[in-house]
Symmetry: C2
Subunit: 316 residues, 2 copies
Amino acid sequence: MRVTAPPGLTWSAETVSDHLVSWNPGAATNSVVDFVERTVADHVPVEERVAVFDNDGTLWCEKPLPIQADFILRRLFEMAQADPTLRNRQPWKAAYEHDYAWLGGVIAEHYAGDDTNVRTLLGGVLTAHAGISVEEFEGLSESFLREARHPTLGRRYVDCAYAPMVELLGYLEANGFSNYIASGGGRDFMRPITTSMYGVPPERVIGSSVGLDFADGHLRTTSTPEFLNDGPVKPVRIWGRTGRRPIMAVGNSNGDIQMLEYAHAGPGPSLSMLVLHDDADREFDYVAGAEKALNEAQAKGWTVASIRSDWATVFD
Amino acid sequence: MRVTAPPGLTWSAETVSDHLVSWNPGAATNSVVDFVERTVADHVPVEERVAVFDNDGTLWCEKPLPIQADFILRRLFEMAQADPTLRNRQPWKAAYEHDYAWLGGVIAEHYAGDDTNVRTLLGGVLTAHAGISVEEFEGLSESFLREARHPTLGRRYVDCAYAPMVELLGYLEANGFSNYIASGGGRDFMRPITTSMYGVPPERVIGSSVGLDFADGHLRTTSTPEFLNDGPVKPVRIWGRTGRRPIMAVGNSNGDIQMLEYAHAGPGPSLSMLVLHDDADREFDYVAGAEKALNEAQAKGWTVASIRSDWATVFD
């Protein structure tokens, strides 16, 4: 790992092209390189080079449904297989019958302001993996992510990282940055694969969590929610974990706005970036859930990376 | 920093004596060295070499009152100076009148099962530094710790670290360990000085915290408690931060029992250690609040480091 350039020296174009090979020349790529070179040229202390990344839709694919939703639905299906009385109760009924219309309706109702079924869904979700050791949970998550396949892309979930983002993580690390994940997804769901997929070790993974019980020397999951790491909770948890304000933040949805604001409002150079999903051929094309974030990006001059225009390759 | 010995080779006695110069020869010192050498000899992966340390009474002095209590009482005094109406209300009254008997009584009542005045005290404590930016809080904490002096030892608080423990942190780091602080004290109170005092950076400091509010790009303190990082909460927060079970834990009181159990219950080599305060001449002599922990240590074979017997030097 190359850690720092000699003081005052910026990286050569060759060094950039070593890393960002899947990025097309253009404004987004330039803003990344300009920011990183300025950080080095300005001698920003290495310990302050903290970058935070959302995961779903930023580092890996989140359509047609978030990867963790597939993990949970499969578990609810198993529970309904084992216990027929669950088959008439939501959300087990929908999982058992593969009733994606009901699940999609819950999301639509949520956006329309009705959370009745959201609570029903959440109640099931929170029981799906409750009462097991954190090590057992890690094992289930890792097996799923290494073995299950994306429903439309056909590749294993562990191969659903965006190649340009993995390159970006490497480029930042080569320039002395510490990369953190700050995701709305489950902290302990992601941890078993973030080192191999992204080079981000478990202690740099921030995410949603359930409460844990300690007894007889061991930690077990509960069905009590602890943090939903989304929106304004992201900067709070980033500070809680790192004790620093990040100088770079990358997201793709409305839940990332505050994290991007947090990086943007710092005193020195910063980069706030959104990934725009506009490539139905190679990935997906959607702005639902990102409308406000895109407006903020325009108002505040944040960088927008278009999958169609800025990424030469989407998946390795 | 020396990170690892060549595989299979243990460290020489000279390497130990380079680091643990303030430790007397004896059972406690041997158990530390045996554990570290076994970790290296067994090729425990570097990323699993996680050690966790309580702070108050383990890394720095906690008598006659915890250092953070002095910080808060000075702030309550200032508040009562500025606002005379507070001078008749607890806990400002006690702080303004330097009424340590009232404060001591609250602790005694707590141990007797009556938390009426604990709630009164906590209500004041939580307002003492509420409504300021996390950066302002850091500045207040750092100035206090670098300038204020211990009431009986006469040295600045920032000089109240135990020399043998600072050496132990260095010895562990030289053997590839990552040291974390897991304290009942305030996470953001400790962070400004842990790098210079202990070589432990902010992202490795776990402690109690208040809720933070995010607005306009900035984080501000609230008066709502978030975590009291004590007892069974310690293993939960250690996992939350690191995603790993530590293989070494060091504490000094009943609030550290679960953290020490957590390290002890792991599958590989581990070390759980208690600091015993038995040296009224050089530090303090007390077991109040540590009785259960000392019983557990005896029952489970945890290491006990006696300040009187095992430490040649207490403070540098």
